[in-house]
Amino acid sequence: MSDPAAPAKRTPLYESHVAAGGRMVPFAGYEMPVQYPTGILTEHNWTRENAGLFDVSHMGQAFLLGPDHDTTARALETLCPADFVNLGLGKQRYSQLLASDGGILDDIMVTRSVDPAEDGALMLVVNAACKDADFALIEQRLPANVKLLRAGHRALVALQGPRAAEVLAKHCPDSADMAFMSARSTRFDNFDCHVSRSGYTGEDGYEISINAKYVATVWDTLCADPLVKPIGLGARDSLRLEAGLCLYGHDIDATTSPVEGALAWSIQKRRREEGGFPGADRIQRELRDGPSRLRVGILPEGRQPAREGAEIHADGRKVGVVTSGGFGPTRNGPCAMGYVEAAFARPGTALTLIVRDKPLPAVVAPMPFVPKRFFQPKAG
């Protein structure tokens, strides 16, 4: 984790945030905008209806470079439970870096270059607060013929929302037909960049990785589009919560396994059978027998939010704890996620949340809390 005593770092877009009236707060060792003057509700709704622009340059970017795809993929598979060997050209996959007991050290996005000439390269994006520890761990575990190259010179912005595609197509025409969880090297106007169709809001959208020297120009160009507004960390959190997506250090951490975290979908069949990742004994056992606890969606009755740390009770005793919770502007009501004992994880199960020493009725609910709207090109 980042050192709280260290001076806060700034992304290459710091000046743009201040100029736009962003309220800067410390986050993962960086000064980041929590909101702009219109506020979190407006930013949240704008992203669900138009296109929101997020600075995520604080996140850790790096390349894994090996002699061929199979070698690089297998090196990463010693740390993560996803199948990277069978990851196609230009495809992206979500996974987790695991500790030897199967606990999650970080979650990670892994992309294989679309260009066959870059065979053997994987692009990694990890969380800001974990990046130094993640990259140190990866380097320590790599075979001699696979190198980690940190990409600290690259910035990262996300353009998210139902109108993100039409906005980006004006500057990057070949982004329009990309499928969700695919990526390609391309150009934004005249700037070389790497674009993936992915995000953290439950909406269609893109992440654009670009040299830090050019990112302010790209940011200003996108912000000049009437369909685009900059969005801060506050709305980023309410958007991802409604989408049922985990926030590392809250919904998943070193004490939770991917199976407990309801992330078993991200462990492909070959890895489930073969194992060969840290904590495989525990994770394979949890896949077979079911975990003792599970991350679930929770909808409180009424309008009062339940926040991180609220105890979850059922049958007159504590059966879990809320790990993220707040008010979902699109739901127009509170929503939360947390861990419950497996017997209480079925959707529809009645729970009682303890909020400021008072009981708040709630129910286990499927996630996401709002429909996902990811893009897939039409077949044929």
Binding site: I40, L41, G234, R303, P305, R307
Partner: protein, 125 residues
């Protein structure tokens, strides 16, 4: 004729006779951002000066509201249940939280006047 006093935690109390109307300042609502829920006490509740009497929830966080003076709750603002955003729109008007029958009006003397509160805000940067 009413007088208004403020706390360092940005609550206000508008006093008419022995009834005080409690809410949060314009500065406080701007800091909190969009208010989505206000948890209000039951009328009749006795509160001590500085005791937690309500909780205001924005999209981002929950914040406690403390009683500026001791008293008993005589009324809460029912409008906030359906329209919590009133706190943002009119914090000193229709966005009030609750009315207290003030136990000891001498407790008001330790609170800030409008002018003192504005000076206090300047020290917060």
């Amino acid at each position: 004729m009413s007088t208004i006093r403020y706390t360092k935690d940005h609550e206000y109390i508008r006093v008419e006779g022995d009834i005080g109307t409690v809410g949060i300042s314009d500065y406080a609502q701007a800091q909190l951002g969009d208010v989505v829920f206000v948890d209000l006490p039951a009328p009749g509740k006795e509160v001590a000066q500085g005791a937690e009497t309500a909780v205001v929830e924005s999209v981002k966080a929950a914040s406690e509201i403390y009683a500026p003076v001791a008293g008993s709750v005589v009324e809460v603002n029912a409008r906030l249940a359906d329209n919590p955003a009133t706190v943002n729109e009119a914090p000193l008007g229709d966005g009030w939280f609750l009315k207290l029958r003030i136990a000891d009006t001498a407790q008001l003397d330790a609170l800030m006047t409008e002018e003192q509160y504005q000076d206090y805000l300047k020290t917060l940067g």
